[in-house]
Amino acid sequence: MLKMNNIKKIFRTDLVETHALRDFSLEVSEGEFVAVTGPSGSGKTTFLNITGMLETFNSGSYLLDGLDVSQLNDNQRSKLRNEKIGFIFQSFNLIPDLNLFDNVDVPLRYRGFSAKDRKQRIENALERVGLSARMKHLPSQLSGGQQQRVAIARALAGEPLFLLADEPTGNLDSLMARQVMQLLEEINQQGTTIIMVTHDAELARRAERNIHIVDGQVSDYQQLQPVLDVAEA
Amino acid sequence: MLEIKPILSALLRHKSSTLLIILQIAITFAVVVNSTSIIKERIELMSRDTGLVNDRLITFNVNAFGEDYDHESNLRADLELLRSLPGVVSAAPMNQIPLSGSGDSSGVAGSQEAVDNLEMTGTGMFHGDSHMINTLGVKLAAGRLFTPEEITYSRGRADVKSVIITQALADQIYPEGNALGSTLFMGGDLKMTIVGIVEHMSGSWPSWSNFNYNVLTPFVPLRDFQRYLIQAEDQETVTRLLGEVEKLLIDRNRQRVITNVRSMDELIERIYADDAAMTTILWVVVILLVLITALGIVGIVSFNVNQRVKQIGTRRALGATRMDILRYFVTENILITSLGLFVGITLTIGFNVFLAEQFEMPEFNWNLIPVGVLIMFFIGIVSVWLPARRASKVSPAIATQSI
């Protein structure tokens, strides 16, 4: 489903050259729940941006659902992102002026679904995260956990190939974090692939597979080893 | 002024918004200076000395009808009536009134040779009786006024022997200063002796280059249409006469219609109405433009302040005083304004050259440029003040906040 091979990403300024990812390879198959961990500056964010096609890379290959991403232009990447990926952010990134309904509507608008179809999907998605009663509320009227659930609904509404979550519980207290995590696990059990970037080892442990990035490379394909947690302290 | 270097580099990083303000200031400057130049020129035009006693003159037209109307006896009776009115200093029949925008003009010359070579000077031709010059309030510079005996009253042409001309015309056709007593040639075999020279007197058309070249003759044409000019003692008399002159004249003889009863001040207002209107429009444009530019600067500086709140807080935390922050933004503005003015001055000169070529504009007032520069700096500083003060109030504590 997702296949990265020897991805290389270099940031250049006048003075320094930073190798954010070097020969990064990863394969994710359908239905997996993958956690990507790593210390600050390890390349997690770059991995996320490249996976989400928000950034391009210098070399290597990235096949998404059989399509070679490096061959696509911005428009095609946007379309692919819209159809295949559901983003979930640490700070939720709901659009403050739009009510919940309209927030979930955003990716569907770009998808070009009919009004009826969109309404159906939005209601279903909000139902799934347990917020269908508050459709007309603005994000500011919700708690952080509720906001993140709306964001998950927004990510799910277009039935993407996988969810790409960036520290989904990072801005939440532990109770809300647990609820959001449970929701993600439920969604995964219902068949949606999830790739989650986090620095929280506790959280990562709940995923079925862990990828640890250090210095822009995957350090270990094996199951989580407790010793690595120390790096994050 | 140690801050100029960091400000410059900050400006370079915000190229587009800096460029926009520079452009805006430049165009505003060009428009303001050129408009002010036109305004100044028009005001000068409108406030030119007329040579007349403007505020004490009244004019009106008498339109007679009917086959049996005796022009000469009616004219004499009218004048007698007008001169007998309380508060009237003097009254005269005239064929045209200065600054009225209508009248007669004719070519004259100082020699037969000039006539033969068709090198004649266009002049305004004022016909009237011996009271004409005193009524106008024009001052005699040399020679004499017309005597009552000299005046010809005629339905056709007059065989006029003597004329009085304005100093400006005398200087034009007799540059050596020997106009008095010399001959004025009017083409054909028409020749007259210049018996007097009057100082300054406006003609009928202010836009005409020969506005100040005027000839006065001792001739009263007798026609159905007759203009009169009255000089009153004071403003009150002017107001009173404006109200009652029509009735007085109709009561004396009903076989006519009195039209265009106007004071000289009103004539002047009418003839310069377009210039006055242009001046007003340009003022409005200048004020609105300055306002828009000021608002624009406020808007963009506010945005910059918002963008740099964190940076400002950090500076404050590192020991910058409020004054330092204020000074930073004001200096930045002065720098931008200077750049804008540099472009603006170039633009102004270019614009002016263009205008001068297209519309035969009078020469540009170069001293308006420094005035404009001061005005623009003033506007710049006033409009940067508010957002800059807000910036100076940013708390240093912001530096430690994560949001």
Binding site: - | I281, L282, V285, L355
Partner: protein, 438 residues
């Protein structure tokens, strides 16, 4: 998608009311000022008789003597013709219609002794004048063709005068006392006020039309005075009206209707033939002697119907608009950059650059239309101001549909142009920057 963008635009306007109002005011002022100036200009320059402006020709004859010319016009032709020339060229059968014309005036003496006599400007013309210039009649019609040869005291009056003298009733056949001479009314015309008053641009481009029309053939009979310009180049002894009629003074006007190019060609030749005939009689001695036919549009140009002040104002008003637009670009940059995080989210959720670009252009266009609407209002205010400043333009100063559409068009066009750069900038921003902790 357009309705979605409009909805987003409305939401963003609600979120940034001050910034948005500033932009609307800036665009509004720019449009208001330039529309005020453009309206006056457009109305002045407007074809006053579009159906015929290219068939109606004003005749100019270069009848000056050697060494004389008109310094006021580019081609040095005099503006008017002499009475003898007006009489002579009237013999030509080439034009479809033709009229001599003179600005004159009368003392109108009402029947009732209570109403005092009053002055009224008038025009002496030939019977085809009304047909030529499409003057609408309410009652009656023009006079009989024969009257132009053998004069009789007939008159056509306008609605206003008819109201004043006859309470608006059909006055055809009734008499009007003009300067103690009785004229019989043959027709009453409806309000007719071409602006500019193209048929006589010598006597005030935007003056009121006359209320009284009498046969030109009455000139020698009643010695109708000239209320317009009388230009002479020759020293002539003119003691009475008969001598004025015979003189080289130029004080009459002449209009012809030439329906096709061929007829115009033929008439031009006819006039040249006339001039060489006159040259044998010792007239038209100038080396430039000739005839010039100018249609309504050309004639308006020669007479500089649009004063040069207006051209200066048009230039200034467009610079004003430019400043307003530059201002708007600055404010848009601020507004859009403030919205960059949201754009980041939208990009992450699959919006393409072009979708973001269009969304922001729609936003700008929406503001532009609001600014245009404000500009129209301000323009009306400006025109009200112009009306008080220039009393003679009052009839000109109104916006027609074309101008309203133009105003909205300029507002929309210029704001979209102004919005291009900010919208381009915002759609190019890297979304990932805004997705992390803010």
């Amino acid at each position: 998608m357009l309705s979605y963008y409009l909805k987003l635009s409305w939401l963003s306007i609600k979120r940034t009311p001050i910034l948005t109002s500033l932009m609307i005011v800036a665009i509004g002022l720019g449009i208001g000022v330039s529309m005020t100036v453009l309206t006056v200009n457009y109305m002045m320059d407007k074809d006053p008789i579009p159906e015929k402006s290219h068939q109606l020709y004003h005749v100019q004859l270069f009848s000056y003597g050697k060494g004389h010319s008109n310094s006021q016009t580019e081609d040095a032709f005099p503006m008017q013709v002499t009475y003898p020339d007006a009489m002579n060229i009237h013999r030509s059968e080439v034009p479809l219609r033709k009229t001599r014309s003179l600005a004159t005036g009368f003392t109108v003496i009402p029947e009732s002794a209570d109403s005092p006599p009053f002055m009224q400007s008038a025009r002496a013309i030939d019977y085809q004048f009304f047909d030529m210039f499409n003057v609408p009649f309410i009652f009656g019609s023009t006079w009989n063709e024969q009257i132009d040869q053998s004069p009789r005291e007939v008159v056509v009056i306008d609605k206003e005068l008819n109201n004043r003298l006859f309470n608006g009733e059909n006055s055809v056949g009734k008499a009007v006392n003009l300067g103690s001479v009785r004229y019989t009314v043959v027709g009453v015309i409806d309000t007719w006020q071409p602006a500019p008053r193209f048929y006589d641009l010598n006597n005030g481009n935007f003056n009121e039309s006359e209320s009284i029309f009498v046969p030109f053939s009455l000139l020698p009979v009643h010695e109708l005075p000239s209320w317009g310009n009388n230009n002479g180049w020759k020293t002539e002894k003119i003691n009475n009206y008969q001598e004025k009629l015979a003189s080289e003074q130029m004080w009459n006007q002449y209009w012809v209707e030439l329906p096709t190019k061929e007829v115009k060609e033929e008439y031009q030749q006819w006039l040249e033939g006339y001039i060489s005939e006159q040259q044998k009689l010792g007239r038209f001695e100038n080396e430039k002697a000739g005839a010039s036919l100018k249609n309504v549009i050309q004639w308006m140009k020669v007479n500089q119907v649009v004063p040069s002040d207006n051209s200066i104002l048009v230039g200034l008003s467009f610079m004003f608009l430019a400043v307003c637009m530059i201002n708007t670009i600055g404010l848009l940059l601020a507004k859009f950059l403030r919205r960059a995080p949201e754009v980041g989210v939208r990009r992450a959720l699959g919006a393409s650059r072009s979708e973001i670009f269009i969304q922001h252009l729609v936003d700008v266009a929406f503001i532009g239309i609001l600014g245009g609407a404000l500009g129209l209002l301000l323009g009306q205010l400006g025109l009200l101001g112009v009306k008080t400043l220039y009393s003679s333009y009052s009839q000109l100063v109104h916006m027609d549909l074309t101008l309203i559409v133009l105003a909205i068009g300029i507002a929309l066009g210029s704001s979209v142009i102004a919005g291009m750069y900010p919208a381009w900038l915002i759609c190019r921003t890297n979304p990932s920057v805004y997705l992390k902790i803010q």
